[in-house]
């Protein structure tokens, strides 16, 4: 149990640092509201190494903590919606045979953006915001792919060090 908690805490800390680094280095995609989502790398890795339940807890805790330190309450609701939806989809895709980390990460990236868009739609009460959906889908695809490539390299290494 102590080992589990320590690992989860380490992952949350890592996610927070990655979010902070992301704020420091502006990745400019030319479109507002799009970021790489480095913290998602931690969630994807946790999903593969520690299983669904622990990855979910890590995801929720890091969203709340990141929002309290760097963001605002409104940002937290957007992040929670995107985070929960993308987590459920990633869990589903990781259970289906034939998808690698890349596919899972891409599905997560796209649904993260869709989840945020749905909240934005409820807040603004305007369907026209859906016009932004295709752009966000492509953005989620690209960032998800990048995170997936990183996770694919990272997972075997962390797994190895865990056994030692």
């Amino acid at each position: 149990m102590a080992k589990k908690i320590t690992r989860a805490a380490l992952m949350v800390a890592l996610a927070m640092i990655l979010s902070y680094i992301e704020v420091l280095i502006p990745f400019n995609f030319g479109i507002p509201g799009i970021k790489l989502g480095l913290a998602n790398l931690v969630v994807v890795t946790a999903l593969y190494l520690f299983g669904g339940r622990m990855a979910f807890v890590i995801s929720i805790v890091r969203i709340v903590l990141i929002a309290f330190t760097f963001g605002s309450l409104a940002a937290m609701f957007y992040s929670l919606a995107g985070g929960i939806l993308s987590f459920l989809i990633m869990l589903l895709f990781s259970r289906i045979k034939g998808f690698s980390v890349l596919g899972v990460s891409v599905a997560g990236g796209v649904t993260h953006n869709i989840g945020q868009l749905i909240v934005a739609m409820l807040v603004v009460e305007n369907l026209n915001i859906m016009l932004y959906a295709p752009v966000l889908m492509i953005a989620g695809l690209v960032t998800g792919l990048l995170i997936g490539i990183a996770a694919k390299l990272l997972i075997p290494r962390v797994k190895k060090s865990m056994r030692e």
Binding site: F93, I96, G98, F99, S100, L102, G103, V106, A107, V110, L131, A133, P134, M137, I138, G140, L141, L145
Partner: protein, 121 residues
Amino acid sequence: MKRKDLILIAVILIAALAGFFIVRKAQSGEGARVVITVDGKTYGTYSLDENRTIEIKDDLGYNKVVIADGTADVTQADCPDKICVDHAPISRDRETIICLPHKLVVEVKGGEASEIDAKTR
């Protein structure tokens, strides 16, 4: 990367592209319209992009509105002053041609904003 990954990526790309085209089409549908009102009541709404001729005949008189090449113009009328006929074709947002004797208003709604006229609020 596995095959299913590629299929997923392809599906997302296709969905996004389809969404893109739907958005573009929906936006073009919101293009400029020509609204004709007679005596305060809407007579008809027409797209400024479709060429057509509308003849308005009623107790007040006769007017012929021609929509062509993205502009609307009153080409014929049996009113005494013919101010509406002399008026230049309209194409920009909120431009109007008015035939007072026949209580006819031809107005462009939506589309490009006018460059020359502005109003203070």
